[in-house]
Subunit: 246 residues, 2 copies
DNA sequence: GCCACCTGAGTGGTCCGACCACTACGAGTA
DNA sequence: TACTCGTAGTGGTCGGACCACTCAGGTGGC
């Protein structure tokens, strides 16, 4: 009903966004290709440069386009990582019960990804997993631990052979998200438990045992999930006023 | 550390986006709340209205803000559905091997969601599932079938009790995505098979049998997955690692 | 008294033109 | 040949003007 073909539907900018998206979807614009200048594009669609800039900005934050100052506007590679960067925004802006939901999704995907990785992981990838595991255990700096923890799981997700899933999991473990949740979690002396869980995951990967890997990963994320749930059960999180029973 | 806190990092617009996002993350802007006018906001951050408009447009497409012509700018409810609308863009712009990856993710999430739903689904929800199932079988109009198919799975996802997962699954089954893939799939006379699979899912839900529900849902999505894989098999077989039966 | 209508201030939407900051390429030079 | 440096062209920012729409408050009729 609200589909194209009609003279005009929403705002001019919105139409411009759809037009460019359509051009990419139809293959008239290839990944990496350079677009005409803002001025030319605006003229082509018969709109002002301001409106065209808003459309470009919108597609930029969506990871579809990339603007290089002084050079031009380009279509991104359109790979999973480019497009799913916005997933981090969801994680950053979620609070309360939705955080638990996000962790539940991560548990489901991460456990499956780890199981797949156990079956497919190569020697090189396994070595990289071990590298991050060792680095994680060799320092006490929270920042460094989080960084290697992230990389640890990323290697596994990639080894699972699904780039899109790896990108989603990366968004679900974004720096700020992890920092927010883990700050409290780790303060309760969860370091030792985390190390044990990571070791269990590594063991299952090395043994190429998918079921053990699935269980270990599920337990790993599940621990955080349970803790977070308990956190906002009795009292809501600090900063937010009052538990909202929507 | 990674930024100089004081002077400036990226573009003016980018900074404005971060500022507003931060205001929301810190709770200084509540869901549903109205923001100052574009002109005031621009003045507050010391930037031009044009740049502020680009920032607002960016946050609008991300589902964080909502602009109502003549009324004002408001923070959305910030619920999963609002923020994950952009997920549909990923599905719409993905082609070739990435489509299979997306279907694999949908298979994983959908099977788990269906299993959860089997355990939790209420009588009312089950009735709604049956309603869409009947409507789906009562027509030959592809558009209508797709609509009820979508609603069928949506009810199940909601019954699983994870709104975020339901929103993601909705994005993975967006109208255009489904239309693109299913056009070819259904042309091969998959109607009968689809009906049988839907019936199996419903049966498992009615019996409150999670394992049967998981299997039925996985098979349902897996069928499309296999078909799609075969479609682009002969043409391009990129550097994916060996096929592993899951 | 009540309700429909109208008006106007205020808001987002669009356009324009100017200038700045940066990149890329090629002419000029050593 | 290799390097430097200018410059045309690009995205980034700004300010102002006007249009399209919403909504509250007043106005008029009933």
């Amino acid at each position: 009903m609200d589909d194209e073909t009609a003279p005009q539907k929403g705002t001019v900018t919105q139409r411009a966004i759809e037009r460019i998206k359509a051009m990419i979807a139809e293959g008239r614009l290839e990944p990496g290709q350079r677009l005409p200048t803002e001025r030319d594009l605006a003229a082509q669609l018969g709109i002002s440069r301001s409106s065209m800039r808003e459309a470009i900005r919108a597609l930029t934050v969506l990871g579809v386009l990339e603007a290089r100052h002084g050079s031009g506007i380009y279509v991104t590679r359109l790979e999973a990582g480019d497009l799913l960067e916005t997933f981090g925004v969801v994680a950053d802006l979620s609070r309360g019960p939705r955080l638990v939901e996000l962790l539940e999704i991560r548990r489901i995907l991460e456990s499956t990804a780890t199981a797949l990785a156990a079956a497919r992981i190569s020697g090189d990838e396994l070595a990289e997993v071990e590298k991050h595991l060792a680095a994680m255990n060799a320092t006490e700096d929270p920042e460094e631990i989080i960084a290697h923890d992230l990389a640890f799981h990323r290697v596994i997700a990639v080894a699972a052979g699904n780039e899109t899933m790896a990108a989603i999991l990366e968004g679900l473990s974004s720096r700020t998200f992890r920092a927010r949740v883990w700050r409290g979690y780790q303060e309760e002396g969860a370091f030792a438990r985390t190390r044990r869980e990571h070791a269990a995951i590594h063991r299952a990967l090395a043994a190429h045992d998918p079921e053990a890997a699935r269980a270990a990963a599920a337990a790993h994320v599940g621990e955080v999930e349970q803790w977070l749930w308990a956190q906002l059960g009795p009292q809501d999180m600090p900063g937010a006023r009052g538990a909202v029973a929507t």
